[in-house]
Amino acid sequence: MTQFLQTCLDAASLGSIFALSALGIGLLFGILRLANVAHGEFISTAAYSLIVPFTSVAAASELFIGKWHWAAVIPTVCAIVVVLALATERFVFRPLRSASAPVLMMASFTVSYILQNTVLMVYGSQARGVNLWYGLTQQIQWQGLRIPLIQIVTIAVTAVLMVSLSLFLKYSRFGIEVRAAAEDFRMARYLGVKANRVIGIAFAISGVLAAAVALLYLPQSGTINYAWGSPLALYGFVAVVVGGMGSLPGAVLGGFSIGIAITMLQVYLPPELKPFRDAFAFGLVIVILVVRPNGLFPVKHVMKRV
């Protein structure tokens, strides 16, 4: 029983990371129909901004922003990623606003490629150790359970961010505009919603979420490489698809589902099948999509378009 509870806790922690990643991706998809592949690079950039650039490959990496007080680290990293996200919107996605979804996706692949190679040039391809907030990796032993502090923080921050975002979208003027745009972008514009502002807000929020993912994931992972954020973005995408394209609660639920599925498969699959853990996880995704082609939380206006 203790082991099962431990597994549930591990699953919730992993699910939180995926949920946050999915939220950032789902938000942009909801409004722009943009599957932003570069979200993974937003996450990587947040992580890399913490260490000193142009360090020798033969030397251990040193913290840069990462060694500041956490109260300074969080807003600085968020600001860096928000600026990056807004820059990609202004210079890449805005000129392509009337383009079709596949063109937007190709553009985001290009952004991803450019950002990845920029990281390669500045920080090199060698995996780098980053010791961010080691104190958070401390374990709390409780009733036989091993609870790393970072897991509690991750789950709590995810919950706070989800609730804040929901309240923001529901009650603030900007939030209502964002939701209106997600519902029917053209009609929202006819009714006076400023497209640039709404899309800018969405990109900024996705930037903050990417920074949150990086800052919550890095204390656990401790090592970064130029493609560090890509798997998180991939799972985020899958979560969005499972949850229902365009649905924010769906994206969050999808993220938790993927995290739970992967952890449970890792623990309970027979040893000889464990190497195929991800194949089973994606197999489950296919089953979900066969049973519910529009995901767990289908959004009506997206269904109509399909």
């Binding site: 431990q6 033969a58 040193e62 391809s125 060698q126 150790g129 010791n131 992972s221 560090w228 952890t263």
Partner: protein
């Protein structure tokens, strides 16, 4: 007049002959490099390339090879599989006597296959897969590197005999073949020498969390008396080490040489008691020649080599030059036949062996080093006493 004409003719002939001989002597030996000078593989390949250039300069300063100077041509494969084929073809157009290809088997093989087809000699700068050679590419292909299986076998042997660690938990990174090969070598030698593997879990080095595997390890230590954890992965898995240590698991950790280098160690503050076998120890190798080579590299390029994977091409080129000198030709068949006879042949980096079946190191002594307080320090040299069987080298038959 006749005498003068004859004398002139003889003089002209002699001059022509001298000129021809001069031309022959000046006809250089060419080494092609089809490697990654950009993209993610560039760190290792570039440093290997630098060692190769250091060797070429030294050899040329000593009169070259067969009295001929050594030149090189280079093509960047940009860490791209399709570009690797093109890079191989590009250097082949220069008619090289030897082609060095990328360290990584996947990126080097497309070029090496082109070189093999052209009937020329190729060498992977540091591939760790025994397929990088006769089986995977062909009889004229070598790897300058060390089979991953040897890493696992050496650290298993050392852990049992020197540290008396009789019960191990294996954490296998299934994201790459080299990592699985290290595990295969470990399992073979550890169990053969009487060790018990009490648990075996898998992960991927880029997994967001290995919390469930860490729980398994903690249970195995508490309930089954596990004394050590073998982590078959590479430096990208610094996060796994961090998660293991953060969970309060303080048993000695073992790993393959792919953890070599300290760039990742910031991930684990106060890391200690983590042992890996390496070909060289960059800071503080006990062998003066190896340390001198590292110092020369640093003096020339202003930085230390990124990892041990930069070095092996240097030793391999020494052996190739020895074979070329012995046979008096750069002809692939003759040089390979000569190199296939080398058993524990001395090089600056220690002894190397080849056979007609194996063109990668599977038995050489390795340097055990420990990560301690952010540094990697030499412990001692260690060698296994039994050859690794074929089924372990090619991971066949379970």
């Amino acid at each position: 007049m006749t005498t003068r004409t004859l004398a002139s003719g003889l003089l002209a002939g002699a001059l022509a002959a001298v000129a021809a001989t001069g031309a022959l002597a000046a006809d250089p030996i060419k080494i092609g490099f089809a490697i990654s000078l950009s993209g993610r593989q560039s760190v290792t390949d570039t440093d290997g390339y630098r060692f190769a250039q250091m060797w070429i300069e030294k050899q040329n300063a000593a009169g070259g090879l067969l009295g001929r100077q050594i030149e090189f041509v280079t093509a960047d494969n940009k860490t791209d599989l399709a570009e690797s084929v093109k890079a191989g073809q590009q250097v082949l157009r220069e008619d090289p006597d030897l082609v060095a290809v990328s360290c990584d088997y996947d990126f080097g093989a497309p070029a090496a296959v082109q070189v093999q087809k052209a009937g020329k000699l190729s060498v992977f700068q540091c591939a760790v897969d025994p397929k990088a050679g006769v089986v995977g590419v062909g009889p004229y292909s070598f790897s300058a590197g060390i089979a991953s299986q040897l890493d696992g076998a050496v650290i298993a042997d050392w852990a049992l005999k020197r540290k008396d660690l009789k019960k191990a938990f294996v954490l296998e990174d299934v994201a790459g073949e080299a990592q699985k090969s290290a595990c295969a070598g470990f399992k073979w030698n550890y169990e053969r020498e009487g060790g018990e593997i009490a648990g075996w879990e898998q992960f991927r080095f880029d997994d967001a969390s290995i919390a469930s595997q860490v729980s398994e390890i903690a249970n195995a230590i508490a309930n089954d008396g596990v004394e050590t954890v073998m982590l078959c992965s590479h430096l990208g898995a610094g996060g796994a080490v961090r998660q293991i240590r953060a969970a309060g698991i303080d048993v000695p950790l073992l790993g393959p040489s792919m953890f070599d280098g300290v760039a990742w160690t910031s991930a684990v503050p106060g890391l200690t008691d983590f042992y890996i076998p390496t070909a060289v120890v960059i800071e503080g190798d006990a062998r003066p020649d190896v340390q001198a080579l590292t110092d020369a590299f640093e003096a020339k390029y202003g930085d230390k080599p990124s990892s041990m994977f930069a070095y092996p091409i240097y030793a391999w080129l020494e052996l190739w030059a020895k074979a070329v000198a012995a046979t008096g030709t750069t002809d692939s068949a003759e040089v390979v036949a000569e190199m296939n006879t080398y058993t524990d042949e001395p090089t600056t980096l220690g002894p190397r062996s080849f056979s007609p079946e194996l063109h990668i190191q599977t038995s050489m002594p390795m340097q055990i080093s420990e990560f301690t307080d952010g540094r990697q320090v030499l412990v001692e040299e260690w060698k296994i006493d039994e050859p690794i069987p074929q089924q372990v080298l090619y991971r066949i038959g379970g």
